[in-house]
Amino acid sequence: MTACNPMTPLTLLILSLIMVPLATGLGLAFLRIDALRKVVVVGVTLAVCAGTIALVAVSAPLDLGGGMSLNNHWINMAILGAEVTMSLYIIYVGLRAKHAMIVLLTLAQMGLMGWFEFTAGAHVEVTQNLFVDKLSVIMALINGLVGGGICIYALGYMREYHEVAHREVRDRRPLFFALLFVFLGAMFGLIFANNLMWLFLFWEITTLCSFLLIGYTQTDEALRNARRALVMNLAGGLAFAMAIVWCYRQTHGIELQALIGSKQALVLVPAALLCFAGITKSAQLPFSSWLLGAMVAPTPVSALLHSSTMVKAGVYLVLRMAPVITGTKVGTMVALVGGITFLVGSLAAITASEAKRVLAWSTIANLGLIVLCGGIGTYEALWAGVLLIIFHAVAKCLLFLCVGVVDHKMHTRSIEEMSGLIRRLPRVAVMMLIGMAGMFLAPFGMLISKWAVLKAVVDAAPLLSVFIVFGSAATLFFWVKWMGKLVEVTAAGDTDKKEFGLSEGVALYSLGVATFLTCLLFPLISSQFVEPYVMDVYGQTASLSKDNILIMTIMMALVMLFPLSFIGYGRGVKVVDAYLGGANVGGSVRFLGSANAVEEVTMHNYYLRGFFSETWLSRWGGIGGSVFLAIMLLVSYFL
């Protein structure tokens, strides 16, 4: 038994961030009293948030990142045991569903890992099982704060879900919250793990949580989509397992930081395999269908797993691989996968009229942009990629939570039904507008990140810019027409008195504020977290020049003036009807049509379905993505 290193405060903090949510999750599975659950959820969430903020302070003196040993035979045994248990459960699931791929993939994984443990397990030496650097801190902040907000939101949301909106779904809230917290803990584990075996365990835990949560409603459609997600993520898991074996073969080590620091030619294959795993987890083409199918799950699941955190784990891994694959054909292929996903995702989102589908495609597209950055892998691209992660996580989460509230209030997720939301649910509508602005509008974060991506691309691989320019044009279209739907007011209607409950309100307002703050404090975030990280990895970093920061601040001020201008608006203007050819009937909503029939004005957004076909885009995008992935794997081995 190897002696443990003395526990530094940092190690203790990290361990508790991983273990506390995990333990809470396991405990919550048996807690059936609602009131008690509320207390536990809120309490642990606040503790986790405090912990992540403390992490910022405690890890500050660590300039270059530090690792912890924690070499303990029993811990490794426990991890192995957990892996085996999970694999057996998944095989059981696969057998029960008569799904051959699930069983085969899991058996392959088990076989590979088993063989690895058997032959090399005793000889593997790991110096640092855990590792913390600025990127880990950023990811931890996202996971803790955004994830915590979602857990609080889920309290009110799931109560309404089971008691009002979806009484037909069996109330399994203990399991639901248990899975949320287990997932949070696993994400922390994933972020802080340096030992690839440990990372693999946490990776698979997130796959399992995702599977169980997508299938929460237990309808046929949900179970089918859950299985699809499981299969695709298992494929990624298999690639992950192969990466571990290969990495050990090449370098006699299974540590992530060591892999990153190794010679490119040596570790290109494991890096490519890890990128493959990241690509499946972040639903890039051709694996995008699982994310679209996952939207059947309740909104907190979509927000937490499928936009802000779990899928970020995939792109996080790709970004970690960036220094290894930069400048190689593997990197080019990864960038191409990201690029084509961004383009296809943006175009497909135009044709979607259901809110969660638009958000899903948009998530896939933005993850593609991050993967593009990872593939290019220069210091500029890495800087842009990390910024994208931060801004996207916050803004997209806010949007999902708003859509959830709208879903419960209005029993619809169709964008067309959201017409006039600014009058009916003003607070929610404003939050949604902030979220959307955060997704694509200057000078909000995502736009700054896109600007950074463009800069990185023109320096490294200008030809990839074709994906970005066409994709950006498309994103503008679908966001603005949705925004337009929210602000237009056609029918007379009342404002709902109670828009959302306390827990939803807390989550929405905090995320709205967070979106604003991340934008406002963007230079600070860049200089305190992102630039030091990039500097670590490359020895040089990109940043915003003072002039540009000034310009963006001015633009930000201008945009912030807009809501202020509503104070005292409407003076000096006279309200008349809209122009309806002179045939208005008492207002702007009805007009006299043919045969003296009174018609109502209906205004439907353009979905351009005759112009862009989602099926065609998915199919050819998927083919393109598969081709690029195949080339990536081949090229990593043969060149």
């Binding site: 023109v458 200008p462 074709v466 603005v480 001015i554 509503f566 203007v573 353009y606």
Partner: protein
């Protein structure tokens, strides 16, 4: 010339120049149609008249969006002539355009709604080429700063001919002229009534007109950038391009939006991207 002087000259001179150009636009159009046409200062009279008219709205907050549209268009031009980062200039203009579109949505009338949707489609059609123009200029001069590009010693149009032609194509869309006047029309077309500007009146409409003046000057300034190393040639080409845009406007009828998007994207891919492809291959050698 110091930045602030340039900006102030722009702020003051651009509406004047824009007004005159707009007036010449209507004159030249009229002459092409064998008519006399209005006086050159007609746009000024239009704005003055609109300024004194009653301000009617359908929704109380709709005019606020237009104020921000104007401010952002002015800001865009100011950034451009101050020599700032070209990408930020593009993003500022896009932000302004979005405020314009949202204002039309806010007005909540079917004609302004269609105008808004079509305006968005227009933006989607020209945005790739606009971004590729900035990227092309970066590849040719290694800088996104307008100041650096303007100071570049070589004639940019020689290295970026495809980009220039593609840019001209999208200028037709940006100027909202046939064959791409999809969202609103200046002349007697009444298919959409007034499209995006249907529900705006009085002072607000005047602001939209003034914003178009600023935008015209900015766009012609960008054309000048392709010829910046020979200033006289640059000014001459800008004016020629303006007249050429009017000629195309009078020759063509309006196209469907599908054609607009398809053709614009095709031109972007072939001319714009092709140019950049060749340029980067040549540079890598």
């Amino acid at each position: 010339m110091s930045i602030w002087i340039r900006v102030i000259i722009y702020l003051v001179a651009a509406p004047v120049v824009g007004c005159l150009l707009s007036g010449w636009d209507r004159r030249i159009t009229a002459r092409m149609q064998a008519r006399q046409g209005p006086p050159i200062l007609q746009p000024l009279y239009d704005v003055m008249k609109l300024w004194g008219k009653e301000n009617l709205v359908v929704r109380r907050s709709q005019n606020l969006y237009i104020w921000f549209f104007l401010v952002l268009v002015i800001f865009t031009g100011g950034l451009f002539f101050a020599g700032a980062d070209l990408l930020l200039v593009i993003f500022a203009l896009t932000l302004g355009a979005i405020f314009f579109v949202l204002g039309a949505y806010k007005a909540s009338s079917p004609y302004s709604f269609i105008g808004a949707e079509r305006e968005l489609i227009q933006i989607m059609a020209y945005e790739p080429m606009v971004l590729l123009t900035a990227i092309g200029m970066y590849i040719a001069t290694r800088s996104f700063s307008v100041e650096a590009i303007a100071g570049h010693s070589k004639l940019l149009v020689l290295t970026l001919p495809g980009v220039f032609l593609g840019f001209l194509y999208t200028l037709e869309i940006k100027f909202r002229k046939s064959p791409f006047d999809l969202s609103s029309s200046h002349h007697a077309h009444q298919e959409l009534v007034r499209g995006i500007t249907t529900e705006f009146s009085g002072r607000t409409l005047a602001l939209i007109e003034i914003a178009h003046w600023y935008e015209t000057v900015f766009l012609l300034g960008w054309v000048y950038l392709f010829f910046a190393s020979l200033p006289m040639l640059g000014v001459a080409v800008s004016l020629f391009v303006f007249v050429f845009v009017i000629l195309v406007d009078n020759v063509f009828a309006r196209l469907k939006w599908q054609t607009a998007v398809r053709s614009a994207w095709l031109v972007t891919a072939v001319l714009g991207f092709g140019n950049i492809l060749i340029l980067s291959l040549l540079q890598n050698k």
